[in-house]
Structures are given as structure tokens and as C-alpha cells.
Amino acid sequence: MGNLIRAVLVLLALALPAAAQGQDAFDAALAGLAGNFNQQAEAVERLGALGDPRAVPVLRALADGRLLKRPDGGGVVQPSEPAPPGAEPVRVNNRVRVALRGALGRLQLVSPDPGERLAAAEAVFRSRDAANAPLLEAALARESVPRIRAQMELSLAASRLVADDGEAKRAAVFALGATASTDARALLLEARAADPGLSAEIEAAVAAIDRRLALRRAAETLFQGLSLGSVLLLAALGLAVTFGVMGVINMAHGEMVMLGAYTAVVVQEALRGVPALLPWSLPLSVPAAFLVTALVGAAIERGLIRHLYGRPLETLLMTFGVGMILQQAVRTLFGAQNRDVTSPAWMQGTLTLPGGVAVTQNRLWIIVFGLAVLLAVVAAIRLTRFGLEMRAVVQNRRIAATMGIRTGRVDALTFAFGSGVAGMAGVALSQIDNVSPNLGTGYIIDSFMVVVFGGVGSLAGTLVGAMTLGVVNKVLEPWAGAVLAKVAVLVALMLFIQRRPRGLFALRGRAADA
């Protein structure tokens, strides 16, 4: 009995210091988190190296800005503890954030959650530390998900690239050279600068990456061009109806776009009280914006424009004035400050297509939306009775009137329809541009440019015109810069209009003479 107790005591005496040591190192590192940025970065690295799973919630809280500092200077409050009064969050800087990413990556390589493991492998890839290699080898031995394995192998190569082992380094260069990743390219170039011994292999690997990237970049430029084109298309579609079909030089078109964007702001504010609907405020804004701007458009047409048919100069001046009044009205009502229309989660971030082409989600949705609006406009004009009457009035107003079509009503509806389309465009533009009272002024020239280039009165021309201008602009931009690219496109357009005054898709026959 006595012996047994003695044995237990001896064992405890042996075990305690080890446990206490682990406890001490963890607590000491934890205390450093409340220090200055240097101490914080060191503490984070120590916590990452200790491999203590208790560090994970602490580091995560620090990364999210939730970790609190004791007001009495006694270190940090663990996330599991209750917050003492007066505790302030610990602030970090970019250097600490870099350390945090690396440390969290190391600690989570063996996390049960596959998403965390993948993120951890990516984080370790970026932290480029030779000490990560054994951790990655251990993690790879148990990993079964192919996608995570692939990332871990890349991260392992990245860690070996900065190690001292020449043979492993060479293998790592080949592994990284087989990818199409800009990050891998950057790592290789960094390694070349650090160790010129492998420069021949590294250059071959970088050249191989560049070949793969060239195609992807071309695809990305095309996407960017189509995205700019879809923005131009959206902005111009309403004008293609009011100017293209009706022939009204509508300088207030941009303000219709702006009113649509402000409708999105109002819908968002109105839905703040209904949290369940809030993520859907943007789709709900689309019909709302159509209705609001269509009503405003109808009022403008009935109140003002109809008195000025056949007098383009007066129409131009009058719509210009209406535009200014609308702008100032919105400024008085909502203020000169920009308003924020929050992007729903499904419109944020980047989507990687097969082949590695990265496209931003909001741009992708705007391309889809632009095409959908185009189809809707085409369908309305081709398939509905309103569209038929509209085309009849445009072709020959007097015969249409003798057939019993109320041409005045059709005029008002057509203008309202064009304005409503502009309003829907405004909802989309609220996602990529500033919602401010002068939102529209930036688009009015581009819109006229697209409609005239495509051919007045032709929706197909508007589509092709918008996409052409978008892609040409984006292809020119890397060489000429954003300012010169725009100038070059304008000059080219002027020359084109000189040669073909009716644009790409000129209407033929009687409609063109009307």
C-alpha cells in the first residue's frame, strides 16, 4: 500500500514538470499576444510551433478581431472565458496577420474538417517555411481527399524549395513547374534570387508555367471584355428603345439608370426590418426599379416629350434639363454621399472555372443579367401585342392610327418601357459602380456610343456593338493604359461612323427612311 502510494507520487513528480512546462510555454506565448506588434508576431509563431490544439480558438479569435485584452494589462482573455468589463479587442497589423495565417495553417493541417484542411494547406503554401515539411509529410500520410492531397503536395514542394536539401529542392522545382499558378511562379523566382545554383531548372519551370498562363490570361481578358460589354449593353438597352426605336434624343437616360440604382437602395432599406428577405433584396429590386422608372418615364413622355416630337434640338435640351432636375432632386432627398447596396453573398468573391480561369462572381452575374434583359426586350418587341403596335407605329404612324392603334398611348408605353429597362440596368450597376446622384452621367455617352455604333434601331447591333467595344477596350488597356484605351476606342469609332454612318447593323427599307 505504502509502496503503491510512493510509486504514484514518484510518477506524479516525474509527470508534473512536463505538463507544467507545456502549460507554461502555452501561457507565456499567450501573454505575448497582448504585447506590441513584434511580440504578437513572435507569440503567434510560438503558438503555431507548439502544436497545442488549445491555440486554435485563440488564434482564430485574434484573426477575426474577437480576442479581448484585459484592461488591467494581465494578458488576453481566452475565448472560453467570460469577457471582463472594459476589455478591448486586440489589434493586429499585417505582419501579425501573415504570422497568424501560417500558424493557423500548421495547426489545422490535421483538422477533421476537409474545408479547414484545404485552407490550411493553402496557408502553409504561402508561409514558405522549411519547418513545415515534416508536418506536411505526416498530414499527407493520412490524407485521402485528392484535391487536398494535391494542394498539400504543392505546399510540401514549396516548403522543400526553401530547405537546404539540394535534391529535394530540385524535385520541388519540377513539381511547382508542373502547375499553372502565379503563386508557384513567384515562389520559384524568389528561390532563384536566394540560390542561383538552380537557376537553369527554375527558368525552365517558370517558362512552362508562363506557357500555361498565357492561354488562361487570354481567356480572362476576354471575360473582362465581355463583362465591360455587358455593362455597356445594360446601360444602352433602354436607350436602344427610347432613342433607337422612338428617335427621342433622351439625355435623361442616365438619370433613369440612376433612379433604378436608388430604388435598389430604398428596397434594401425597406427590407432591413425583414431579415429573411434581406439576401433577396437585389432580385426584388429589379421589378421595383422597372416599375418606378417606367412610371417616371411615362410621366416625362406625357408631360413634356410628346409636345416636342419632330423637334430633336428642343427635345435634347429639355431632356438634359429634366436629367439635371432629377439629379438634384435625388441629391436633396438622399444626400450627396454615395449609398451602399450590399452585394449578396452569392455575388461576392471569385469563381474558378475548369482550366483555372478565375472570374469574379458579380461580373459573371451581370453578364447573365444583361443577356436576360436583352432576351426579355427582344421577346417583348417580337412576341407581345404591345411590341407589334410599337413596331407598327414606328414604321408608319398614320397607317397605324387608321388601323385603330392609339399611337399616343403606344408612345407613352414605349418610352416607359425603355425607361424601365434603364432602371433595371441601374440595379445591376449598383453592384459595380457608386450609387450617387451623378451615377448616370458616366454612362450617357457610352450608351449613345453603343447605340450609334451598333446601328440605330437594331437590338442585335446594340448587343454586338456593346460586346465589341468592351473587348476592344480591354485588349487595348494593358498596352495603352485605361485613359488612352478609351481615347483610342473613341477615335476608332469616329472613323467608323465616317465610313458607315448607319452603324454596324443598318436598317434597310422603309423603316430606315421613316
Partner: protein, 420 residues
Amino acid sequence: MTTNAAAHHPMTRRAALAAGLGAAALAGPSIRPSFAQGAPIKVGVLHSLSGTMAISETALRDTVLMMVEWINARGGLLGRRVEAVVVDPASNWPLFAEKARELLQVAKVDVVFGCWTSVSRKSVLPVFEELNGLLFYPVQYEGEEQSRNVFYTGAAPNQQAIPAVEYLMSADGGEAKRIALLGTDYVYPRTTNRILRAFLSSKGIADADIMEEYTPFGHSDWQGIVSRVKRFAGEGKKAAIVSTINGDANVPFYRELGNQGIKAEDIPSVAFSVGEEELAGIDTKPLVGHLAAWNYFMSVQSPANDEFKKMWSAYIKNPRRVTNDPMEATYTGFRMWTQAVAKAGTTAVDPVREAMYGQKVDAPCGYAEEMHRNHHLSKPVMIGEVQADGQFNIVWKTPAAIPAENWSPFIPENANRRRG
């Protein structure tokens, strides 16, 4: 007196309060007659209230109006009431010159607070020099100017741009070795970047490691430029962005940075024209860690700043409105001008100019700022990180206010210029 009475007789606190209220009620109407002698002193306000710069300049108009109210509540200047004359140059640069002439010749103002963009300042400069007016210009700018008719209360490049780039190249800032200079296409970004290029090459950064791109005012399609910056950063050296993008083009720029997943840990950016006001229009969560360099942030902890913020929220009556650096520079400039007028005993331009030199104000940035004979203030430099709530966390600042070098030593033509 009242506080003494209250301290000696705690029981009469309510009585003291009532007396105080009564005094205030009496004082209200009685202030006006006390200004009876002399015509009011007129302060011109020349800020765009419409157009692309309205987003930034409207708050400066409000700041001047707040200061006019403040000085009148203290009994005016030289025993006279102060009156603001507000005009709207509508972000239209030539209109700035017309409105400046109108303020000086028709309204006959004694001083003007105004302008934001350098192009508007360049436009009004000949008017102020011809008519010997007095302009207080409250925004950081590219330097290379010193008019006897202008007091510059914002930063010169050595008080903002150069320390910010030094920070990016330091261990704390991420040891950047390649710098992307992105800006709006006009005189301020182009001159600043010219100075920065010379500075970077003096630090041993090769021309191949500098990228320079300009965009028009109000540019909204940043996808190409941001993906080129990504590529620029993939050359094996740590890269950073220095942004002189002005006005509301910043919102789509930051949105694109967020959407393309550029984190501040990988490619930090430092901006010279983005403050609390500009961030008010965006969701800042994806931008945490990106930087801005100014001489003041709303998050500065100082008694002068507490007073300034209290004054602003009491004036504007909207808890969501923020303060920013140019507003602080307007506030500091206005206080300095009132001190100089009091010292000169007149509002005439020449004596006030003499009286301005050496004036000191405990500015909200937490330092005493002094007006030097080069018409510029000594200012502290601060680097702030964007936080999720749209405020800045100050991660670095100079220990003291530093004097302005409005003629940059990094521009070769300035070699023979007299400094100070």
C-alpha cells in the same frame, strides 16, 4: 461662479442648474445686439456641393459653417459677427475661378476656405494673387507651390506620401520591393508619383520594379488593372500598391480588390485620398488591413479630438457622419485664422498674413501644429489600417509633428530653390 456655488452647497444643485438655464435663455437673444458695432466679417466657402467631388467637399462646407457658428457663440471676432458666404463651383474647375472672383469682388469676403483637388486650386490661384485675397486650402497635395495668398493646412509629400512608402518597405509594413503606383489622371497623382519614383530609386528600387497606371476621374472598371497588379506581384518579390486614386473611383477599386481576393497580407495597399468619409459608402470587411496615410484619423485619442468630434456630432445631428483629415485641417486652419485676426486686430490680408506666421493650435491630431513662413503647417504623419467598422486603427505614427517640405528635394528642378 455657478460651479462654485454648486460645490459649496450640494443641495442647491438644482437651483444652480435652473439659474444656468435661465442665464442661457437670456444670453440667447442678447448675443445679437452685442454685435451691433461694425459690419459682419465675411468668410467665403468655395467647395463643390454637386458633381463628382461633392462626396468629399460637402463635409468641408459643413465644417466651415460649424466653425462660424462656434466663433459667433464665443462672441464673434473683434466684436463683430462672422458670416459665411457659400457658393457652389460644382466640381467644374474653371467655375472655381469665377466663383472665387465673385467672392472677393462682389461679396467682398475677408477670407476664403475652399478647394479640394489641385486642379481647382491651380484654377483659383491667379485670382487670389491678382486681388490679394486669402485662401485656406485644407487637403494634402503634391507640393511644388507656395503662394503668399494661400495657407496650406494639409500635408506636403514629405508629410504623407514618403513616410507611407517608407512604412511599406519596413519590416512592419511587409518589406515591399515592388511598388504599383495607381492614380487618377491629373496633376496631384502625377506629381506625387514623380516624387515617389525619385524617392524609390534613391532607395535602390529599379524602374522595372515600379508599375504606374492612371485612370480617368470616376473610373469604375478596375478588373484589368487589378489583375495586372496581381501579375506584377507574381515576380518573386513582395509587392505593394500606392494609391493616389481620388474621389468616388475608390469604391469600385476596393470592391474589385475584395472580389479578386487580394488580401492585405499578400499585397498591402496604402491610399492617400481615402478617409473615413470615403469608406462610409463601402463594406469594409474584405479590406481589413489595407492602409491609408494621413495626419489625422477619427480614431486618434486626444482631448482636442474628443472636443472636435463632440462639436461635429452636435452640429451635424447625425451619429453616422464621421470626421476626417481634411475636416481637421479646415478646423485647425479656421482656428489659426481667428487667432491671427485677433492678434492683427483687423481682417486686412497683409497684417493677417504676418500674424499667421508662428500661430499654434492644439490640433485634434493630438499635436500642436505651427504655421511656418513657408505657409505650411508642421504635422505628424500617421498610418492607419482599415477596420471592419470603417474606422482606422493607427499602426504607426511619427513621434513629433514634422515641418513641410513643399519643394520636394526629389524633384531635380528644385535643387537651387530656397527652402523654409
